[in-house]
């Protein structure tokens, strides 16, 4: 198993944002992380990425307690924009290269160009769709094993969403794993292998979508309504 979370819990004051969350992720799969706002999806991602410490419980990577070495193989993309306004597209590449040893500058250049972003463009002037593409291009240019994408499809138009999905599907393979949180169920339904349903900080269900369609003919929207 690539990643195992055992009874993971995180409190903010007296409220548990993540509560006894037990979840396994396999290599070579795409997971959809689904749940209402405030259900704990982002907090879970941040704990796995090492940005916030669990209050209780443990995270195993390839069978051993996760350490800084493993965390370097995890690429987390936050919902909120995280580049400085004064930067140009090219600067973002330099910034990432300085931060992450697994960053592939050439790939970043190629990906940004293919999406219509030139290195001279200022981050400040980008549309929300362009900005979302830039964020994803930077994240996917890391040669990570586990990609945690928090709401990559939020707040952008249909065409940009399709481009982002194509980019994800080009990168996803048998050696890596993707976790994508989203509320846009119809957009991700055809390519997500497992839907992970989170409710009040714990795992409500994990469903293999293709098996579910075979067995019960339920769509993702129907599952969502039934489970959450």
């Amino acid at each position: 198993m690539m990643l195992e979370c055992r009874e993971l819990t995180k409190w903010f004051g007296s409220k548990a944002a993540v509560a006894d969350l037990t979840l396994d992720l396999e290599r070579g799969k795409i997971y959809g992380l689904l749940g209402e706002n405030g259900s704990g999806k982002t907090t879970w991602m941040k704990m796995v990425a090492g940005l916030t410490k669990p209050g209780r419980g443990e995270i195993l990577y390839e069978g051993h307690p996760i350490d800084w070495h493993d965390k370097a193989k995890i690429a987390y993309m936050a919902t909120e924009p995280f580049f400085y306004d004064f930067m140009r597209v090219g600067d973002v590449g330099e910034y990432y290269e300085a931060f992450f040893p697994d960053f592939d500058r050439e790939k970043y250049g190629k990906t940004t160009r293919s999406m219509g972003l030139s290195s001279e463009m200022k981050v400040r002037n980008l549309s929300s769709g362009m900005s979302a593409k830039l964020k994803l291009a930077a994240t996917l240019s890391r040669q990570a094993e586990l990609y945690l994408l928090d709401e990559p499809l939020n707040g952008i138009d249909y065409k940009a969403r399709e481009e982002i999905i194509s980019l994800i599907l080009e990168e996803a393979g048998e050696d890596n794993t993707f976790v994508i949180s989203t509320h846009l169920l119809e957009e991700v339904e055809s390519f997500i292998e497992y839907a992970v349903f989170i409710k009040d900080g714990h795992l409500a269900d994990k469903v293999n979508l293709e098996s579910e369609r075979m067995k019960t003919g339920r769509s993702l929207t129907e599952l969502y309504t039934d489970i959450l």
């Binding site: 070579g28 599907l169 996803a172 048998e174 119809e186 339904e189 055809s190 293709e210 003919g217 929207t221």
Partner: protein
Amino acid sequence: MDYNTGAPIYLQVINELKKKMVKGELKPGEKMPSGRDLAVEYKVNQNTAARIYREMELKGYCFTRRGIGTFVSEEENMFQDLKKEMASELLANFMHEMSGLGYRKDDIIDQIADYKEDGENDA
């Protein structure tokens, strides 16, 4: 491609590829997209893409040369069979639905003989 969200995706893609073969958009012996390109084109994951080719190979619709790629079958007979098979599937569904409405085979044949396609009525 618009999917029926309540049915297995891999079967829907296989059906689409079969149609392309029957229509000649995929020709005998032609190289098929790589698993990755298939995944992007049909918005499926790599495992689904691999499953699609595996199932199609089992049925003899295509074959894989290791390290080179997947190719459409070169058997001309296969294309004829495929066309017949897809037609009889459609027909079986149609007959099933019509008999559900209470039509008998003779009535259906009469209806088909009288059937005008869209636009013919306006002419």
